[in-house]
Subunit: 196 residues, 2 copies
DNA sequence: AAGGATGGAAACCGATCTGTTTCCAGACTC
DNA sequence: GAGTCTGGAAACAGATCGGTTTCCATCCTT
């Protein structure tokens, strides 16, 4: 454990990993032990375990997003930038510690849509949809909103498949995204004028 | 509670509902109370809670499948029979007690792919894929296996969207399936051009 | 009417749950 | 050096966890 980091940072890091790997039903004792933080400190920093669930999810959100979405202005076409997300998902599914999209996983586990963690999950799923939307607008497709939703569902469906089968996706998610992009006419790099 | 049913049936019924609604972490005390069965009887009928999870999932599987997939020989085209699954999912997502596909939900919660419940979940997801496959073969598409996988992912992605957003799908899953079927050239075989 | 099997109610076990509290070691300021 | 603050270790609380056991009422069979 990193003793340089503050107790709060250590707690958020450990929570982000353990809630994802073991589920949100992991005990506070195990969590604090992994973080090297006392329960007293934890309950001084967070009102409840539920709040820690939400805040840890919010803290891993930007990093997860950055790991999936290519940087702006990298010279890629919208199609390539969209497909890059599915390539990253494919790579993640090959690793042994893949338990699906952490937001979807948490939402499924919490059941209650009003739980603060569910609210955070909803927020970050919307941001992925918004990323797709921006690319689709740049690609000038007919129905960018509808396509962005479909790509998000393709992402979560592929993620769910990897979880249920406990296997790597081996490109099936990428091919699904390609099929949807083909159908929407998001094709040749040069033809789709992506001015910025 | 139905006193006609055997303790085993009452347990499987209650487990199928409560594990889905509250998650697999619900206690066996609450479960037995809901089923009107003593813990003693429960542990005589099932070796462990984990076994009850698996068996209750296996017991709801056929019913869930039958609720989604149209009967054979109903005069519908393969395309209509495939879309009927997504229409049913859309209808389910409108109800307040929708927590996603029970197999996907259980697999996400259990995390461990070797858990007997995960094995059952995998089995029934494969049966949905097999249903799609049969229809796609009948429709003579180019890559029926790949398309069946894509439709299954579309199903689970749509289901995940309804869970994360805690909202009805309002047709977005149906439209995604239509887009995939259109791209694969699955029209009504006997009836030419069918507009939507 | 007697005997055996079924199965519910509830006590019990040790472990773990979320959350609170006490105590004390170390680092800081003044 | 005295006082203050942070934060870890650990006991504690009451509830619940999965699982076992005892006891007893109700059946069915004969």
């Amino acid at each position: 454990m990193n003793t340089q980091a503050t107790p709060r940072e250590r707690l958020l890091d450990a929570a982000g990993e353990l809630f994802y790997r073991d589920g949100v039903n992991i005990g506070v004792d195990a969590l604090c032990k992994a973080a090297g933080v006392s329960k007293k400190s934890m309950y001084q920093l967070f009102r409840s375990k539920d709040e820690l669930i939400a805040e840890s999810l919010a803290s891993v959100g930007p990093g997860y997003q950055h790991a999936l979405e290519p940087d702006a202005g990298d010279g890629l076409t919208p199609r390539e930038r969209i497909l890059a997300v599915f390539v990253k998902l494919d790579q993640q599914s090959r690793k042994g510690d893949f338990y699906g999209c952490p937001f979807v996983s948490t939402a499924f586990e919490l059941k209650n849509p009003e739980h603060p963690g569910s609210v955070v999950a909803r927020h970050f799923k919307q941001r992925l949809t918004d990323f797709f939307l921006g690319e689709l607008v740049a690609a000038r497709v007919d129905d960018p909103e509808g396509m962005a939703i479909q790509l998000t569902m393709a992402f979560d469906g592929a993620s769910a498949r990897a979880v249920v089968r406990a296997q790597a996706l081996n490109g099936v998610g990428i091919r699904m995204a390609e099929a949807l992009l083909d159908a929407a006419g998001v094709k040749a790099p040069e033809l789709a004028g992506q001015a910025r």
